[in-house]
């Protein structure tokens, strides 16, 4: 894959420089750490600070969800690699508004261990930290071990919910409570059509036949649950929706929000073709689609493919999902 880059080793830092030049009104780097990207108006006094982070290469995840009604800060790792505990700690210090912090991120072991170490460092400064992990990818472990699953596109919903809760003034316990409720109510499943190449590695993360697809493949190329000939959009939709709906399970009458997410190279046109059938299937299953999001919400560089995420909504989650939000990558009014 050809890339518009300079030195591969400078990928992340040059990306951040460009991002801050473009969105200086909304974002800044913490003074103590250029890899800690925070809201321009951080710390927001009296508000629970939401901290996230993870490897680069997934924009808008994670960085793209720092903003009003969303997260307060993000620790930025190398491509597909965890950020460091120290950066997380610096981001915590720079966003903490006196009401405690929620560490909210996708479940990957490296990230978890670093965030845990950062939480220990914050605890020594008497900063209270709660942690909520998002483990929405149904392909990565069976339902009875859902907490072992990795976090993917469903992260977006949990940012949206937790961010709205913090913005409306909930305390840390309640922000953590609604984040956990959202995390437990969201499920995702994806399909990959082509690999991506980590700039510093120079070789694709995996190989796949010219006429093949892989259902359930992870966003770094982790193996999925089914590899076979490329199918139509309608059959792909059926596979993804079935896996997601049967997992929670979602039941007739449930109110849901749906996200059809592009992994990078798949055009929006194809996402709408996929969404079309997803929507038919949800209607047939008796689920009430309350809100739909179609676009690139969590990517893997230039990987081709898509994922479907479903969030079950109660009245509280509905209110929080409806709230306004604003970042350089996501706006809802």
């Amino acid at each position: 894959m050809k890339k518009i880059i300079n030195e591969p080793m400078d990928f992340v830092d040059e990306m951040l420089e460009g991002l801050l030049l473009a969105h200086g009104g909304q974002l800044k780097a913490a003074e103590s750490d250029p890899r800690a990207i925070i809201r321009a108006d951080a710390p927001v006094s009296g508000k629970v600070a939401i901290l996230t982070g993870g490897g680069s290469g997934h924009l808008p995840v994670f960085l793209g969800y720092v903003g009003e009604g969303l997260a307060d800060g993000c620790s930025v790792g190398n491509v597909f690699s965890s950020p460091s505990a120290e950066t997380m700690y610096e981001a915590t210090l720079a966003t903490h508004g006196g009401a405690g912090c929620l560490y909210l991120y996708g479940h990957y072991s490296g990230d978890t261990m670093n965030f845990d170490m950062a939480a220990e460092m914050a605890a020594m400064d008497d900063i209270r930290v709660e942690t909520v992990l998002v483990s929405d990818d149904v392909a990565s472990a069976p339902p009875d071990q859902w907490q072992r699953r990795r976090g993917v596109g469903g992260l977006f919903f949990v940012y949206k919910i937790a961010g709205a809760a913090a913005a409306e003034g909930m305390d840390l316990d309640n922000v953590a409570r609604v984040a956990r409720a959202a995390s437990q109510s969201v499920r995702s499943m994806g399909v990959a059509l082509s690999p991506c190449t980590v700039p510093a590695a120079g070789v694709p993360t995996f190989t796949i036949g010219d006429a093949e697809m892989e259902i359930g493949m992870g966003i770094h190329g982790e193996a999925g649950v089914h590899r076979g000939p490329l199918e139509t959009a309608d059959s792909i939709a059926t596979r993804l929706v079935d896996a997601v709906v049967n997992d929670l399970p979602f039941e007739r009458g449930d109110r849901v929000a749906v996200l059809v997410n592009g992994l990078g190279a798949t055009p929006p046109e194809e996402l709408y073709i996929l969404y079309r059938r997803v929507r038919h299937l949800l209607d047939e299953a008796g689920l009430v689609t309350y809100r739909s999001y179609v676009g690139e919400y969590a990517t893997s560089l230039e990987m081709a493919g898509a994922s479907v995420s479903l969030l079950r909504l109660d009245d509280e989650l509905t209110r929080l999902l409806d709230a306004p939000a604003r970042s350089p990558f996501f706006q809802q009014s």
Binding site: M9, E86, S140, A141, A200, A201, G218
Partner: protein
């Protein structure tokens, strides 16, 4: 000559370890690409590079500080599962080295034990989960046994490195239960664990250093 590592030895041994692991980076990349995400090669290259840079500024510090700060420097630049576990190992080892001006085999055995415990607390994995613990835990036990039986430093480290190598071999048939490779399910069977391989390389490097010293 006492059978111990001085402050200067620690600095030199860490630099040598960095050089050896960087030389083996491609092997680690390959292994991690087979059952993980393939970044371990980059991680050790960047991480040990950062550690060496940090060592430049740590030349005047005591052994504990050298270990603690250089471990954090690794993870700061190359955070990842391996990075944070390496930092944890160095931090726990540093704690055991506090106040010491030289390290004997008994100290090193205690430090290895503390490092292994730190990894278990941080990563919540068990022996047999196909992680670096499968090399680190038996190696720490071997050092402990050598220390108790009054063995010299160099052969004790060599023995630990051989035990670690057996641990690595044993991971080939294991099914990953922890970390990213557990998502690769059965595909992980048949490939040795990259993290355990890195631990074995580190012990090999330390043993060679001690042998040259002796």
């Amino acid at each position: 000559m006492a059978d111990v590592l001085s402050r200067e030895d620690v600095l030199a041994a860490l630099r040598q370890l960095a050089a050896d692991l960087t030389a083996g980076a491609d092997r680690l990349r390959e292994l991690d690409a087979a059952i993980g995400d393939g970044d371990l090669g980059i991680t050790v290259t960047i991480g040990f590079g950062a550690m060496c840079e940090a060592l430049d500024d740590l030349a005047d510090q005591d052994i504990a500080t050298i270990l603690q700060r250089s471990g954090m420097a690794f993870n700061r630049k190359a955070a990842s599962t391996f990075g944070v576990l390496f930092a944890t190992m160095m931090m726990r080892a540093a704690r055991e080295a506090r106040g010491l001006e030289t390290l004997g085999l008994a100290d090193i055995a205690r430090m290895a034990q503390a490092a292994a415990e730190g990894v278990m607390e941080r990563g919540k994995a068990q022996l047999g989960d196909k992680t670096l613990l499968d090399a680190l835990v038996p190696a720490a036990q071997a050092l402990q046994a050598s220390a108790e039986s009054g063995e010299a430093l160099a052969p004790a480290l060599r023995q630990a490195s051989l035990v670690a190598a057996d641990g690595v071999t044993a991971t080939i048939d294991l099914r990953s239960k922890s970390g990213r490779s557990s998502w690769f399910a059965d595909r992980s069977v048949g490939t040795q664990d990259p993290g355990a391989t890195a631990i074995q390389m580190m012990l090999e490097s330390l043993a060679a250093y001690a042998e040259r010293m002796a």
